[in-house]
Symmetry: C2
Subunit: 171 residues, 2 copies
């Protein structure tokens, strides 16, 4: 990282989901973008599916009772927490002594909107994301989330593709 | 930049054209990606238009004599040299004492193919590019070069958009 970057405060958003590719993107970012001795803040961003998407999860099209909806809400919240914890663990492992400042935020809705809105709201300096979501994002939405974000956010976007031969999410 | 990146050799390709956005992307890369104390090599990549594209430059559709074609070849070569010199000057200015290793390469053809092929051939670790070409790339081709490359190259792609309010290509 150039000297300028080492002294400048930067807010780096990494979009994560339950797929391996976003964890690979996070690992790559920690190794290649984050300055351990800088004021960089890494912001983990997870987009929860909105309720309207739930019925697509099993594809039956049935209307659900409030109990089932509450269970699904819990399931989705647990999934979000699980992904964030996994990402935080990765940050601790990669940064060694925990010098990297890590924050986490969860948004509801279409990940394209959640990511673009959060980048603007937080005034991010860089957005990092995998080229495809392997989780519910891929199942629920047509089109590429990364393409949409690259076209619509104002800050630089780093798109990290997981090599097919890579094992355990690290290069 | 993380410690790992500071010791690892990385080949960073920056796709440039005669537009301001690619120069902004290069500046951003020098400030935020390149490690001055590392073994990073910055490779400036310019894609020259193939001859078949020349007639579109004036839009008349006339067939040109060999003299005119030779003049156009010289013009395009001069343009390539001019862009590369401008980019090298930027590298010297931004890196101060010239510690950054800079190489330059020129390819012929559709910039999408030139960029993707060069990334693979040189085994690049990162590809950096503006989100749009303002030069002949934009005039001659429909569709986004950056989108195509983001989808097709295997290495991480950093797409840098020039803010509308930015003056002189620096943030």
């Amino acid at each position: 990282m150039a000297d300028v970057a080492a002294t400048k405060e930067r807010r780096i958003i990494v979009a994560i989901d339950e797929g391996e590719e976003s964890m690979y993107a996070l690992t790559w970012c920690l190794k290649n973008v984050i300055s351990q001795n800088s004021n960089d803040t890494l912001i983990l961003l997870y987009a929860k599916p909105p309720r309207v998407v739930y019925p697509t999860l099993d594809g039956t099209g049935y209307l659900f009772s409030s109990d089932i909806m509450a269970s699904m809400d819990r399931y989705v919240s647990d999934m979000a927490n699980g992904v964030i914890e996994k990402a935080k663990k990765l940050c601790r492992e990669q940064s060694g002594d925990g010098q990297v400042k890590v924050e986490a935020t969860v948004g509801d809705g279409d990940p394209r909107d959640v990511i673009c809105d959060t980048v603007e709201k937080l005034g991010a300096d860089v957005l990092v994301m995998g080229s495809h979501g392997y989780g519910w994002i891929k199942r629920a939405f047509l089109g590429s989330v990364s393409n949409h974000c690259a076209q619509n956010v104002k800050c630089p976007v780093l798109i990290v593709k997981k090599p097919k031969s890579t094992i355990n999410g690290s290069k």
